[in-house]
Subunit: 188 residues, 2 copies
């Protein structure tokens, strides 16, 4: 081989990683050329890794959602439900768009994706809700899922509002109010 075995797969993952950060930080209008340049390549090579920009969007956001979910699961394992909530509504999560939960960064755009891409995110929402539900005590499964839906709602909404509010103190208060609400909803 002219390149080491596995080289192409490494490059592909690298492109995915760069793309998922750029899409979350700057939106889905980010171009292929900029992404490839950031990955240390030229735009022409893109199509030997992905079929289209649409494919890159779907794959990179799914990747992003998965990684964030893994981080939240880790937080929950270490510090329980409260740690998950505080991780999601942390200042770091508010400020570092490039590592944001894909929903918090781009949910407005999901409805405009082609059907095939959308289905993937519906499933991802369910997985998030199940992750949250697994941290809750009391009630039956349906009731825990219901509370998990409410909690995901307040986490997502509070984070987005905190990002929209420009005044730093008011934004921090939004995050804190969200934490309080989520913890309250988590109690049985």
């Amino acid at each position: 081989m002219r390149y080491e075995r596995g080289h192409k797969e490494v490059t592909r993952q690298h492109i995915l990683d760069i793309a998922s950060r750029r899409f979350r930080k700057h939106g889905l209008a980010e171009g292929i050329s900029g992404i490839m340049k950031d990955a240390g390549l030229t735009h022409g090579g893109f199509y030997s890794h992905f079929q289209s920009k649409g494919d890159l969007v779907r794959e990179s956001l799914l990747d992003a959602a998965g990684k964030k979910r893994a981080r939240l699961a880790e937080a929950a394992q270490t510090g329980g439900f409260e740690a998950l909530v505080r991780e999601y509504l942390s200042r770091a999560h508010r400020d570092r768009l490039e590592n944001s939960c894909a929903f918090a960064a781009l949910i407005s755009d999901f409805g405009r994706l082609p059907r095939s891409s959308r289905a993937v995110f519906t499933r991802e929402v369910k997985t998030y809700i199940e992750l949250i539900a697994a941290q809750l005590a009391g009630g039956d499964e349906a009731e825990r899922r219901r509370r998990a839906m409410q909690i995901f709602g307040v986490l997502l909404g509070a984070l987005q509002l905190a990002r929209t509010i420009e005044d730093r103190d008011a934004s921090d208060r939004m995050l804190e109010a969200g934490v309080e609400a989520a913890l309250g909803l988590g109690m049985h």
Copy 2:
């Protein structure tokens, strides 16, 4: 005058109205030509009404946010806090993107607007929170504002998640869970 007095202002409002619907339904990438065509005009005339597309985006979304806020205020006046919550988390609001709260439709994009446009939406968030706070009883003002922030969070998050979930029943359950959470947070 070659056109009746006030004609130009009527046209301008018409363009704003069409634009605000199209932006909410299809995103901010909607083009000037399509908007003007929808308004029964040609694209060249756009610049005698607005300085740039950025201006149209800012003005039309501000308009949209204001109108939705007026609707919510009306609902609250008729049926109190619960009516406001049920209006926001109604199936109609979920399904009719073109009449959506601008935040629920486009909040992801707000952070990418130029500074001058963003300030306007920070203020609009505050106004929404004050509208909600005004429907709450008990506590002091700061405490009611705090609960209003939590409620706006859950309204916004739950609506967006309900829009993302493709399964109709699951989506309806998301809305209902959001209503329950918002009403719970509204109680002192």
